[in-house]
Symmetry: C2
Subunit: 343 residues, 2 copies
């Protein structure tokens, strides 16, 4: 295993990277119905939704994010709304839609219509169906972050001829038991809300607890240092406005079942790293409270000579992929350059 360290020492205020939207770049969205043979639930009807940007004949890179991510990675000429990873896809970036066809998809279950246990293997099989549908035989690379990294592992194991390289950010071959416990309690918050018609309230609370796992004490220490207030006889601490906003924003766009089933899906994930055959760059974030560095070292060790590790230090913890876009872009550029595959 090779080892490289990239370090971002200072928490800088988040400034979205401005990447030019090129009018000549084609983007397309679509969806179709399929029946998926699911690991725990058997055959289930699903709808597969995707978006891609770039030349139709260019090498294809799939980009898959966390359980809240979706098919719209970044704004483009056709679909101008903000995506979940603005700044990573654009002219001059490693994910350059003039050179590559960047494909993303909605995870199955994300629409809330699938109320059964969902496995990361099911997501990988859904992606294979999607590639068949689009006539794509092989991916140049699968770039997966968080939940997307787990799906990438399964895709490489179950459809090994269809992907030449993996980049896996902040996602190990199995969940850490502490992180699993944290998620299980979040699901209990949702269940408590559901007891008597407070479903949104429970989902907001679950998301707020999740935010603590995505971020770091360092960031909270810098942002929320103000003294608490006593409001209507109750103590209110400095971070609560932020947490209120995070909860409300999440509830507005997330079906409860989608949250529950995708959260569970992370905890069901267990794969054998030695079964992952493509060259794989594993990116770890020091201080990630959900996916400890040690677990990603374990993944790289299991990959043997096919694996290499990059370590980022970031005050954003598990969310670093979404915040440190320049660093991630640099890692992707290096990975694509050294993969031995031509673009």
């Amino acid at each position: 295993m090779s080892f490289a360290t990239s370090t971002v020492l200072r928490p800088e205020p988040f400034v979205p990277v401005s990447v030019p939207v090129d009018d000549r770049v084609h983007a397309e969205r679509g969806e179709f119905a399929a029946v998926l043979s699911m690991r725990h639930a058997g055959p289930c009807p699903v709808r597969l939704r995707y978006e891609w940007v770039g030349p139709v004949n260019a090498p294809v890179v799939v980009l898959a994010g966390g359980i809240s991510a979706h098919r719209h990675v970044a704004s483009n000429a056709q679909f101008t709304e903000k995506g979940w990873a603005e700044g990573l896809v654009g002219s001059g970036r490693a994910l350059d839609p003039q050179q590559l066809r960047v494909l993303a998809f909605d995870f199955i279950g994300a629409d809330g219509a699938l109320d059964v246990p969902i496995d990361t293997a099911d997501q990988a099989d859904a992606l294979a169906l999607l590639l068949d549908h689009l006539g794509i035989r092989t991916l140049k690379a699968f770039v997966g972050y968080s939940y997307g990294a787990l799906v990438g592992q399964q895709f490489a194991i179950r459809h090994r001829a269809r992907v030449r390289q993996l980049v896996l950010v902040s996602g190990a071959h199995r969940p850490h038991p502490y992180a699993a416990a944290w998620r299980a309690l979040q699901r209990r918050a949702v269940a408590l809300g559901q007891l008597q018609c407070g479903e949104d309230h429970g989902l907001a609370l679950a998301r707020q607890f999740a935010m603590l796992s995505y971020r770091t004490p360092e960031e909270f220490g810098e942002r929320f240092d103000a003294a608490p207030e006593v409001v209507n006889g109750r103590v209110r601490v400095a971070a609560e406005d932020y947490l209120d906003a995070a909860g409300a924003q999440y509830v507005a766009r997330t079906p409860v079942n989608a949250y529950l089933r995708l959260s569970e899906s992370i905890d069901l994930h267990r794969v054998d790293p030695s079964a992952i055959l493509p060259p794989t760059v594993v990116v770890a974030v020091e201080g990630d409270r959900l996916v400890p560095l040690a677990d990603l070292v374990g993944l790289v060790e299991g990959l043997g000579p096919r694996g290499s590790l990059r370590v980022l230090r970031s005050p954003y913890g598990h969310d670093a992929f979404l915040k440190e876009t320049d660093r991630i872009d640099a890692i992707l550029a290096t990975a694509f350059r050294t993969s031995g595959e031509s673009a």
Copy 2:
């Protein structure tokens, strides 16, 4: 500031320390009513409950623990049930009830009867009333752990003539904003339960989230490594049995108001370390997810020449005081020996 490190490298299975109960040692319990002038709520009727063990004329050490602690520190000849810190008080220990009179008390609010904001200053003033009631002029030492450490700081500031030495374990001069956010969300879990007429359910969930903050990923990694199960169509992770038990046990003994008001009280705490005048040993646990080492270094720096720091490494994180009783006992023995005060 002086600096010493004590290290416990391996998480060993918890074996309660067996300390002989000496029949000749006298213990006594009592309670009385008082009116306390509270910082946020003005004058309030309170009941003060205490227990002490040891010779009535021996030097007095107060021992105060976390928000779940109470007046019964350890089993003794008169009160044989288990206490909250078994193994710390006993013959041959630093807290030897043949040499010292060890006093502990129920925090105000712990009975659930006080539904107003409670400040750590109020706890300190309640202790002063208790010492008056018992005819105790000055403490040889105040040993405070977690919330008890905050109360000890306030006691030293507000009643400076009444304590000669402080030992403060896992409690800083102000809460860390990340820990405050974590507690605020726990209080929201209780509020969600109250909305749904599921008060116990909410309190159990709050406690379960708190357990994650008290312990460490290292411990969870060792104890709860088993694969998840799918039970009735829902994913259940390995730590859930443990968390169920922790929640149920807590709910059975804790009034909801006690939990809410004492949790808030931690977040209200802010003192100036330079106002703490007695010699003070600060004990930090590396890996404590609630009280970071850096915050305790800040406390010791503020204490100047009066402060010294001991650092424990323990897989039990914030709970180390309750688990590493041999190490804590050794620290107390050194602190008492070097304080320049005769026993």
